[in-house]
Amino acid sequence: MLATQVCSYNHYSMWHKEGEFREPARGSIGGASAADRQRRLRSMLLARVFEQTLLRQPKPGFQLLSRGEEAVAVGVCAALERTDPLLCSGRSIAVALARGVPAGALLAELIGKDGGPNRGRAGRAHVSMPSVGLFGAHGVVGGNLTVAAGVALAQSQLQTGAVTCCVFGDGACGAGSLHETLNIAALWRLPLLLVCDNNGYAVSTPVREGLAFQGLTSIAGPFGVPATVVDGADVDAVAAAVGEAAAEIRAGKGPWFLELCCARLGSHSTLTREERPAAEVEASVAQQDPLRLYERRLRDDGMLDDALWTRMRADVDAEMADAARFVETSPWPDPREALLDV
């Protein structure tokens, strides 16, 4: 199968030549049951509604929204074990929710209140909740890559059998830390899954202007690290690819590089001007919204009808209403907490 068929996006297809990359079992739902797939839909819906709730807060702050990238987060988390340490970039909302951080706690963290898993010290850029397998977001682009390799080294040394997964953006592919991480991870056969969430832009810079190499997975080749390109708007494809890669890694075959192509449906952050042409953004919203695509897919597959969809939305709305109430009642941190745990 051709990468261009899997990822038909403008920013992507111009790069990839026929037969250049190995494909995962395309169209496979990775053994997911109807209930699994309904859970994936709900999980993506929760992230979407969460962000709408966040934006309605009196002071939503500087946030990087996951809108358009929910399938990456949900697919990755669906395929990993809870005991697999997961690290991610500062675009962490969908990842944290999919991993199991309670919506109210996450909202509190993002707003800076005491009820957050990190008591408001971390925010979206550094949120962590190791008890649910979220080892942590990190706000320095590319800064989590070497750290993730270290987490993977610890898994290997302590023989936990866990796969460490690091989700990072296409912008991090221009950082030297990726070169160093791929090199050492390959040399030491670290149990590390590198997941590039390629939304096509580093803030305002398109991939083709920011990276000289053609096709992001090609960077893995020289290190002998297997690489796969997958449609990052297709949650089943993501889960299947992550599952396949994780199984190889768990079998002791060393690191794997996965590129998940998707589209950012809004600007880089809540404070960043949108400079993409309106037509491009509109086209992405119309064609690459993972939530709408998946809703349609499940209807086509007979796993979703109006009644279930209505129930699911009401259920998510209720969860977010609870979350909003939790945040309202969560106190601000005592200012003196600013000096704790230093």
Partner: protein, 325 residues
């Protein structure tokens, strides 16, 4: 007590801590079969094997980042940075990740790694000579240790390998070939404890790392002029042993801070200010490297870096040219 070279004292500390705690691993360039750039890891690869004594490629950012991540996930890594100058490449994971991890996770995670880096000028020129430890003192969350004797190298490295959070352990090229007494029985030196190296009543000279050796030479020269200098070895740049420094400064009324790094925003700047807040009427001065890069030529290097005679002159200036009786 045994007499060991500084590098042997480091090796003994690593040997003991690796035997004691299987989570301790070593990461760095040329540390395995080669035995370390300064011979300080000799025998460890043979004893503990390739999984625990890991040669890294020339990749300081990844070395520190991997050590930080491995520490956060349950190991106790010791990362070697051959020249402290090259720690600049690894500052992001050290400062932005490791030093903040306990804080930003609200105590759920921490990164107990040790970064061992070698400072100091010894003929290798602009980027293999710098003493940038004062930069590190500026970072909340880092412990910064810098021994000057073999005994302290042993005791402080053991402390570092058991510390709850990230430690930067700074040694010095000119210290490796020096010998010193190391206790035969296990003995740790606590972070935050300075050491009195020489008693004196006229002026307190505070130094760390190799500058302690130079400061002690200067104290001999001052003694010949009837000035009794008290020499304090800081050992721990953060936390600082304010108690010992203040006691001495109160007695002498004069404190001179000597360092191999730059004076501007240097160790001495911080210590002088902190001691002035604690000791009323204290007269202070500082002496660090002149404001220039370190040259390769020995003549130029010696002009840039404080020498014993320069310390004598600085002490005399501080005392107004005459010893107080």
């Amino acid at each position: 007590m045994s007499r060991l070279f500084f590098r042997e004292a480091l090796c003994r500390a690593m040997n003991e801590e690796m035997a004691r705690d299987p989570r301790v691993i070593l990461l760095g360039q040329d540390i395995a079969a080669h035995g370390g750039s300064y011979g300080e890891t000799r025998g460890l690869f043979e004893r503990f094997g390739a999984a625990r004594v890991r040669n890294t490629p020339v990749a300081e950012a990844a070395t520190v980042g991997i050590a930080a991540g491995a520490a956060a996930a349950g190991l106790r890594p010791l990362a070697f940075i051959t020249y402290l100058d090259f720690l600049m490449l690894g500052l992001d994971p050290l400062v932005n990740y490791a030093a903040k991890l306990k804080f930003k996770s609200a105590g759920q995670l921490s990164a107990p790694l040790v970064v061992k880096a070698t400072a100091g000028a010894k003929g290798q020129g602009p980027t293999h000579a710098q003493s940038i430890e004062s930069w590190l003192m500026n970072v909340p969350g880092l412990t910064v240790l810098a021994p000057s004797t073999a005994g302290d190298a042993y005791g402080l490295l053991k402390t570092a390998l058991r510390a709850p959070g990230p430690v930067v352990f700074i040694d010095h090229k000119r210290l490796f070939p020096l010998g010193g007494a190391v206790p035969d029985r296990e003995e740790l030196v606590a972070a935050g404890s300075a050491a009195l190296r020489r008693d004196g009543r006229h002026v307190t000279i505070v130094a760390h790392s190799y500058m302690c050796v130079v400061a002690l030479e200067a104290a001999e020269l001052l003694a010949a002029r009837g000035i009794e200098a008290e020499v304090i070895d800081l050992r721990s740049l953060w936390p600082i042993d304010w108690g010992m420094l203040a006691d001495s400064a109160r007695r002498t009324g004069h404190a001179l801070f000597v360092e191999e790094g730059q004076e501007v925003c240097g160790v001495g700047a911080e210590l002088a200010f902190g001691l002035r807040e604690r000791v009323a009427g204290l007269c202070v001065s500082r002496l660090g490297a002149r404001r220039a890069p370190v040259a390769a030529s020995a003549v130029l290097e010696a002009y840039t870096i404080p020498q014993a005679h320069g310390i004598v002159e600085a002490a005399l200036r501080l005392l107004g040219g005459a010893a107080r009786k």
